[in-house]
């Protein structure tokens, strides 16, 4: 894997086993980390992210009159840095000799290096993008991406993978003619957000014209999904979530049922990518998580969020991602990087974590469908 680093995280009673390997070497002897401590630190980071989300709700355009001297933003960022540093210290223990070897390897990694993390259980999903190594009190002005310079998300290309998932590399390149994209959307939230989507509204409309279009009820979406199990799929979900349940306007589904529906009668030779555009969709947790949905052969993984995220932002981030994947010919990794670099989506675009194979892409961009042609098709079908 070139200049990258691979970490494996496995639960073991009250510990989390961390193994690492660099440049395709066999893995290290495990480091034993305190599971409870990591869970608390991860929860603290997610809380700090929620505070940032709330800040954006009250000051979306970063106007100084709403936050004189950017004091409120500085406080939230400082808290996030502190929590990120605490997570780092729970992960990499300075006075522990086996940890020191890993610390020096991480320090030696170049900026932009790939960090692959393999998780075998819900209990080991950590918001590693928000591990912080930098100056907590670094001065803050108008909110900008530069404020996140000390976080791992800025330093590494982080890919988290769930054990048991994945499709062979030959299946990461998908023929657009055989691709079926399914949108399972929360009707009320889409309608509420739509006026605020700007140019993304048109993009979303275009995207949902692609087969097999948009559904606003999980049962309907489930039936549509069952009909495309022998095709390459992207399943895009925009719903309320607490990391355990997905809630649509008039239906909901728990993570275990969601997983069963997605895996049922699935032909592993046709890859599936999940975009779970909901709050806390990769946060893991006790009693199950949405991550398990991607833990099946043939599933290229999922992209989801580490914390609560405003609906408008979630829809815009998801739309950009899908647009670049479908119409711009970008790979998932490139599309994600572009979305996370978009200034108008900052800072909530940083909440997304890639639990999927970054080289997933279409062999060529999809031809956009003219809405008028689509209506004619529907009339003819009727």
């Amino acid at each position: 894997m070139g200049s990258g680093l691979e970490l494996s995280l496995d639960p073991n009673d009250e510990d989390i086993k961390l193994r690492w390997s660099k440049d395709d070497e066999p893995p290290s002897k495990p480091l034993r980390l305190k599971s409870k401590q990591l869970r608390i630190r991860s929860g603290d980071v997610r809380e700090a992210l929620s505070a940032l989300n709330s800040y954006v709700r009250t000051n979306e355009k970063f106007e100084q009159e709403n936050d004189p001297g950017w004091q409120r933003y500085a406080e939230i960022l400082r808290a996030l840095r502190e929590k990120g540093e605490a997570l780092r210290n729970a992960l990499l223990i300075e006075d522990d000799p086996p940890s020191q070897e890993l610390i020096s390897v991480i320090e030696g990694l170049p900026r932009g290096a790939e960090l692959r993390v393999i998780c075998s259980d819900d209990e080991v999903s950590l918001p590693l993008g928000f591990v912080f190594e930098g100056e907590i009190d670094a001065p803050v002005g108008k909110p900008s991406r530069a404020d996140f310079a000390g976080f791992w998300l800025d330093r590494f290309k982080i890919t988290m993978l769930v054990e048991g998932g994945g499709a062979g590399p030959e299946r990461h390149s998908v023929d657009p003619l055989s691709l079926k994209t399914l949108y399972a959307l929360h009707r009320t939230e889409v309608e509420n957000a739509f006026p605020y989507l700007g140019s993304d509204a048109t993009k979303l409309k275009q995207l949902t014209l692609l087969p097999v279009k948009d559904y606003y009820n999980w049962n309907a979406a489930k039936r549509a999904y069952a009909n495309i199990s022998h095709a390459e799929n992207i399943v895009f979900v925009f719903a309320h979530s607490n990391g355990d349940y997905l809630r649509f306007s008039d239906s909901s589904v728990d993570c275990n049922t969601f997983r069963l529906h997605l895996h049922k009668d699935r032909d592993a030779s046709h890859p599936v990518l999940l975009i779970l555009n909901c709050c806390l969709s990769v946060s893991g947790g006790e009693g199950g998580s949405l991550l398990s949905a991607a833990a099946r052969k043939g599933f290229c993984g999922l992209v989801g969020t580490e914390a609560e995220i405003l609906n408008t932002y979630a829809l815009r981030c998801g739309t950009r991602l899908m647009w670049d994947l479908c119409f711009s010919g970008r790979s998932l990794g490139e599309a994600l990087d572009a979305m996370q670099s978009a200034e108008d989506l900052f800072p909530l675009n940083l909440f997304y974590t890639c639990y999927a194979q970054r080289d997933f892409k279409l062999q060529r961009p999809v031809e956009p469908i003219d809405p008028i042609d689509r209506r004619q098709e529907q009339l003819q079908a009727a």
Partner: protein
């Protein structure tokens, strides 16, 4: 015709008769590649702790474990570790915990747990996976507990496994065959038998404490329901862990298809065929 890509030597005695296949017979083991692949993927999947392999009597569970699943789990760069001797399988009997404990003691006595595939690269991996003093303490506790109440043995086994699995640079895979014996040879089942109760408690604790190991439990289909009933992983008591229970069943169906059976009959002759087709093959096939 399917084959398993296992690097192994051709067995000295390729005609197994009614005996089950062993790990050394992996090259003979045919027509189960899909089952083997699926089973391995389920076992090593996200959040899975226990795989219950069920099949009717004579469906080939014992051969499947030894000549199919285990070689698959050992191949490539995988870091899966096994207890027990030559075939990495522990027969349950009506009192499985001492069987497991003795397998573990054997490993302690050899002072290391290393996978069969060569994984040692440098000192970082190390072949002594647990501190020697810790190993000795666990060994003594286990040896002592063998003669005590089974409930206590279960607790000490769990403690030992937590310690060992914490140091393994991979997963420990415990393979238990003929698990129906826990039920058939103890008339009272869990309620009426200390050994059975302690065994099920052990399985529950492995799950509940989320030890970094995987259990494969093979048993006859007709005992699957009762076994699952005894294994109370869906209890509210265990709600801290995922509701899916970390238990996955796999039904091994008997091979009935003619070409598959012919493939199996042909397999032992393959090595000889390079030097000319043996006449016995056609006779066997006709039979």
């Amino acid at each position: 015709m399917d084959t398993l890509p296992i690097v192994a030597q051709w067995p000295k005695h390729p005609y197994r008769g009614l005996d089950f296949y062993r790990e050394t017979d992996a090259l003979l083991f045919r027509e189960r590649a899909k089952d083997v692949e699926e089973c391995a993927a389920i076992l090593l999947g996200f959040g899975v702790k226990i795989l219950i392999l069920q099949g009717s009597s004579g469906s080939g569970k014992s051969s499947f474990l030894r000549a199919g699943l285990i070689p698959q789990l050992k191949q490539g760069g995988r870091r899966n570790f096994f207890l027990s001797g030559k075939d990495s399988v522990i027969r349950c009997t009506c009192d499985p915990l001492p069987e497991i404990a003795c397998s573990l003691l054997d490993k302690f006595d050899s002072r290391h747990l290393v996978p069969d595939t060569a994984y040692r690269r440098d000192e970082r991996d190390g072949d002594v996976l647990t501190d020697v003093a810790v190993c000795e303490e666990l060994r003594q506790k286990l040896a002592l507990a063998l003669s005590g109440p089974r409930e206590e043995l279960a607790e000490i086994l769990v403690e030992a496994l937590v310690e060992i699995c914490g140091d393994l640079p991979g997963k420990l895979i415990l393979v238990l065959d003929q698990a129906e014996e826990v039920l058939t040879l103890t008339p009272g089942g869990r309620a009426g038998n200390e050994a059975a109760a302690a065994f099920f408690r052990f399985l529950e604790d492995v799950y509940l404490r989320n030890i970094d190991m995987r259990l494969v439990v093979a048993l006859r289909t007709e005992y699957y329901g009762r076994f699952r009933d005894e294994l109370r992983i869906s209890d509210d008591r265990l709600s801290r862990r995922p509701r899916s229970g970390g238990v996955e069943p796999y039904l091994l169906r008997p091979l009935r298809e003619k070409n598959a059976l012919l493939g199996i009959i042909d397999a032992p002759t393959l090595a000889r065929r390079e030097n000319g087709p043996p006449s016995i093959t056609s006779h066997s096939r006709e039979d």
